[in-house]
């Protein structure tokens, strides 16, 4: 029998439904795996052993009572520590929220629970989702299961590493500039950023409200689709949530057909500065798509050149306001409350001690960009660029059904290499950021290993807003073709921990 922890989510659910496995057995297998390897990987910030087992027992009881089970009932999941969980710590990777126990569940958390998904724990992340390596976590970095001396990407490095090290078959991430897709790419897993508004942000601690988007992470395209369907859909608690039916993502993942599909390759998402092995794997993917019957079209999106600059004005601006609430008054860390400091000083001391350097950098950047006299030049111009990027995408999607690109310019870089060079760090999200600015949907899935370092490379597929199903249709076809070619899923080539 295959090791429980190596099953896909779909298989796990099927075996629980058929009685071949119990949810408790599955949860225990994963908890044991976490115990065995997470000291090395550090994917989790908090493991909720009791909560997970209770949820698993409830699933088994349901099954025993003959109640209908959802498509992911009993399947374990690793939740990014940015979603509130009632009664379970939520830190957002920051000292400022150390010890905070939220009194409420995020909509995503609630939907997972309602679907009988077993939440194993909360995963590590760059503080407040600001970063591309998970090194900005106040609780220490996470190792990339392919090479523990390298980063697992970020900000959702914990979720991606949990998947790649078989500590969970499913995970949830959030993607503001690439925080789901870039970690997926560098860990050889699948990650999807749904259309903006596709998944509720209620209870997802805000970094940049107009860009943040929660989404599914998994080891296979079908698993991601099954999870996507559970967490997506209109939420009256989030005004920006889309009030429309969820695109048929599971159906698309099961069909996996690209014959006759028009696939765009954008000149601006590739070329100079990209690692040779990344380019090689990407070109190979394009050929593979052509071989599957897709029509490949070369495109130009000139405004993409300004995406990174616009992003680093908009995201910090919104974050400077979103993070103002961390003032030591109502929750989280409080420093200097010894009777000798004023309320203002307590707030200042707490923020000084509780926020890490990258968070402070962005708060200062955003505060500056929003200041009167600078607003038009910075925030205002960035919003204009955003409109131009959305138009570039619109024009592209007049000619093609999806756009493909490398997910990241390089494979996983060594821990410590870019921590003192923010600009180099920011470049990791070069290909993913335009999608957030336009609000489109995108996926990253494995497309092989770079020959020079033997590390995973991600293929990014981008679809127009509300057409998330296209990602799964194309993704499933590419995945099937690659697995057939390699003879096994890419992750099987990862070293044993």
């Amino acid at each position: 029998m295959t090791d429980i922890i190596r099953l896909t989510a779909a298989e796990t659910a099927a075996r629980i439904a058929s009685g071949e496995l119990t949810a408790v057995e599955v949860a225990e297998a994963h908890l044991a795996r976490i115990e065995a390897v997470d000291e090395k990987v550090h994917a989790y910030l908090h493991v909720d052993r009791e909560g997970a087992l209770a949820q698993a027992r409830a699933v088994d009881a349901k099954r025993a009572a003959g109640e209908p089970l959802g498509p992911l009932a009993g399947v374990p999941l690793a939740l990014k520590d940015i979603f509130t969980t009632e009664g379970v710590p939520t830190t957002v990777g920051s000292k400022i929220l150390e010890g905070w126990i939220p009194p409420y569940d995020a909509t995503v958390t609630k939907r997972l629970k309602d679907a009988d998904v077993v939440i194993l724990g909360k995963t590590n992340m760059d503080e407040f989702a600001m970063g591309s390596s998970t090194e900005n976590s106040a609780y220490g970095p996470t190792g990339n299961p392919w090479d523990l001396t390298r980063v697992p990407g970020g900000s959702g490095g914990g979720s991606a590493a949990a998947l790649a090290s078989y500590q969970a078959p499913l995970a949830i991430g959030t993607d503001t500039g690439g925080s789901i897709r870039q970690p997926a790419a560098v860990t050889g897993t699948v990650g999807v950023k749904p259309t903006y508004g596709g998944v509720s942000r209620y209870g997802m601690v805000a970094f940049s409200s107009s860009l943040d988007q929660g989404g599914p992470c998994a080891r296979t395209v079908l698993d991601a689709a099954l999870l996507h369907e559970v967490i997506a859909g209109h939420d009256p608690m989030d005004s920006t949530s889309i009030d429309a039916p969820v695109p048929p993502v599971v159906e698309a993942a099961r069909s996996g057909d690209v014959a006759g599909l028009r696939v765009g390759v954008v000149k601006e998402l590739g070329g100079e500065g990209y690692q040779a092995g990344v380019v090689e794997r990407f070109n190979e993917s394009v050929e593979l798509l052509r071989g599957l019957g897709a029509e490949v079209v070369e495109l130009s999106c000139p405004s993409f050149t300004y995406a990174l600059a616009a992003y680093y004005l908009i995201a910090p601006s919104e974050c400077s306001s979103n993070l103002a609430r961390f003032d030591a008054m109502r929750y989280g860390l409080r420093v200097g409350d010894d009777g000798s400091h004023s309320a203002e000083e307590v707030t200042a001391l707490t923020r000084e001690a509780g926020f890490g350097p990258e968070v402070k950098r962005r708060i200062i950047l955003g505060t500056y960009a929003l200041s009167s006299g600078y607003y038009d030049a910075y925030y205002g111009s960035a919003q204009k660029v955003r409109t131009l990027i959305a138009r570039d995408f619109e024009r592209a999607f007049e000619q093609v059904d999806v756009v493909v690109s490398p997910t990241t310019p390089t494979t996983a870089f060594p821990i410590g290499e870019r921590v003192d060079d923010p600009l180099a760090m920011y470049l990791a999200d070069l290909c993913t950021i335009p999608v957030n600015l336009a609000g489109n949907a995108a996926m990253s899935l494995p497309c092989g290993l770079a020959p020079e370092d033997g590390l995973p490379v991600g293929l990014q597929i981008i679809a127009p807003a509300l057409k998330d199903d296209r990602l799964y249709r194309v993704g499933a076809a590419v995945e099937a073709a690659f697995v057939a070619k390699w003879g096994h899923p890419l992750l099987e080539e990862a070293p044993q921990l």
């Binding site: 979603f83 509130t84 939520t90 957002v92 929220l97 905070w100 939220p102 009194p103 409420y104 995020a106 942000r201 209620y202 209870g203 997802m204 601690v205 805000a206 940049s208 409200s209 107009s210 009256p236 608690m237 989030d238 005004s239 920006t240 601006s317 919104e318 400077s320 306001s321 103002a324 609430r325 961390f326 003032d327 008054m329 109502r330 929750y331 309320a343 203002e344 707030t347 505060t367 929003l370 200041s371 009167s372 607003y375 925030y379």
Partner: protein, 500 residues
């Protein structure tokens, strides 16, 4: 408190022209808060009406309260404003412990309503048009109570208590354009504007607009410029002036203070000032060395508001009769002067009089009781007329008893006293206190006979045709009956007996 130099009001106005700007915050009476489902009911246990959204917990998001938007549009329409086709909320960023998110969700350059006016009537009936810059939606902050300091302000306090029940209650901020040309009547215009606005808000039913409860709060911005000068002077902003009388006094005080500073060659500092009810003075608050930078930007957690035109027109069509028009109508119906109507407005008596008339009283007596006895009582107790513990129905009943001859005015005042003292409905007070007019003809006849006998000279005068002398005899009968006789009946009996 340092004594502030003031120039006499007349001297101030002889050299300077006041320009005012009034900012009024109205707390809407919606059932729930502006961006969450929490109750807005007053008087609840501190922090019992809160949720993740109005506490600003990490991850929580706002959702716009439709009925708040509707109230804002109705206020805008009643103020003759244009209603935005499309507008957004914006974040106003600043730190304060009672602000849960450390930004206030407000509106900035895209208010829901703009460019309107409100006609206000001054004491002498003159109508002054106040132009409205904008009316926009925002949320209230929590409430801080500072403990241990001398002033109740945060400075010097040992600790503060925070109550977030108020956080997120919908507010409409109504901002005037600079009010020019009022001259010496500026303070009166300020007061009349706030009074008129309060009536308007109440007529719309969007808020009780009780100033003493903070449901309507006014900031008075004032500057002076030399007569004939076009350019505005530097303004002061007197915050939270919370009664009609205080609005007038604050404006007056600031005119005198600015004039004293300017005429002695000084300059006015742009600052916020606190108003003191006790002596009508203002003192310096926070100096605004440079304009505070609130770093406004469009609220990304909310989608833009684009009120459908049909809806706006429907709301316009369903506006109630507005106060000024209503007062014109009532003035005619009640047969009273501009001045009398103005007094009723200032006393907050119009709705009470109307309700009393609706309950069966005639206009003259309804007005007489509310504007006389009851207004005096409210004044002495320092409460709003509407808070006096008597209902229009009870006043109407008293008035009916008087009309039926069962009470006279003097007895009626005693009945009112009893109702206010909590002794029950008028009929019960009459019974308990034994206040019925003596209508027993036998007893009354005996009293009249006694009075005639006691005042033979007066009786003779009446017999001789001097009817004016009857008053003295009636007075004597009232004395004998301890005021419980019906004066009208007594007069009839006196004349009957002496003139046949």
């Amino acid at each position: 408190m340092t004594v502030t130099d003031l120039l006499s009001y007349e001297d101030a106005l002889a050299s300077y022209d006041p320009v005012m700007g009034l900012e009024v915050h109205v707390e809407l009476g919606t059932r729930t808060k502006m961006f969450c489902g929490c109750s807005t009911a007053l008087g609840a246990e501190p922090n019992s009406q809160t949720c993740p959204t109005c506490l600003g917990l990490p991850g929580a998001l706002p959702v716009v309260n439709e009925s708040g938007v509707e109230s804002a549009i109705r206020i805008g329409l009643a103020l003759n404003c244009e209603i935005a086709q499309w507008c957004r909320f914006a974040r106003k960023n600043y730190f304060y412990p009672d602000m849960p998110k450390n930004f206030q969700t407000s509106q900035y350059d895209e208010p829901i309503a703009y460019n309107g006016y409100l006609d206000v009537q001054l004491e002498d009936g003159e109508v002054f048009r106040v132009h409205i810059e904008r009316a926009h939606m925002e949320e209230d902050t929590g409430k801080s109570t500072h403990i241990g300091g001398a002033t109740g302000r945060i400075h010097g306090a040992s600790h503060s208590l925070l109550d977030y029940n108020r956080a997120g209650i919908p507010l409409i901020e109504i901002v005037t354009k600079p009010i020019e040309g009022a001259g010496a009547r500026a303070p009166e215009v300020a007061r009349a504007y706030v009074a008129e606005l309060r009536e308007l808000i109440r007529a719309l039913g969007v808020s009780e607009a009780r100033m003493e409860m903070g449901q309507l709060r006014c900031d008075v911005n004032l500057s002076l410029r030399p007569l004939g000068e076009k350019k505005f002077g530097t303004r002061s902003e007197t915050k939270n002036v919370n009664s009609l009388r205080s609005v007038e006094r604050a404006a007056r005080f600031e005119i005198q203070r600015h004039a004293a500073v300017l005429s002695s060659g000084g300059t006015i500092v742009q600052e916020t000032r606190h108003f003191h009810e006790e002596d009508g003075s203002t003192t310096s608050g926070r100096i605004k060395e440079e304009a505070e930078d609130y770093r406004y930007f469009p609220e990304p957690d909310l989608v833009p508001i684009a009120p459908p035109r049909e809806w706006v027109e429907e709301l316009r069509g369903s506006l109630p009769e507005l106060p000024l028009a209503r007062r014109e109508r009532l003035k005619k119906e009640w047969g009273i002067s501009d001045f009398e109507m103005q007094s009723a407005l200032n006393a907050g008596a119009i709705d009470l009089i109307t309700a009393t008339i609706d309950a069966g009283a005639d206009a003259a007596s309804a007005r007489k009781w509310w504007m006389g006895e009851l207004a005096r009582h409210a004044n002495e107790a320092g409460v709003e007329l509407s808070e006096v513990a008597i209902t229009p129905q009870q006043v109407a009943r008293i008035s009916a008893l008087v009309a039926a001859g069962e009470l006279n005015d003097k007895l009626a005042r005693q009945v009112i006293e009893g109702v206010l003292a909590g002794e029950g409905d008028p009929d019960r007070v009459v019974e308990k206190r034994g206040l019925k007019v003596v209508s027993d003809e036998g007893a009354l006849n005996a009293a009249v006979d006694q009075a005639i006998a006691d005042n033979a000279a007066v009786a003779d005068k009446i017999r001789g045709g001097n009817l004016a002398a009857a008053g003295a005899l009636i007075g004597a009968v009232m004395k004998l009956t301890r005021g419980q006789a019906d004066a009208k009946r007594v007069r009839e009996l006196v004349l009957e007996k002496l003139q046949g």
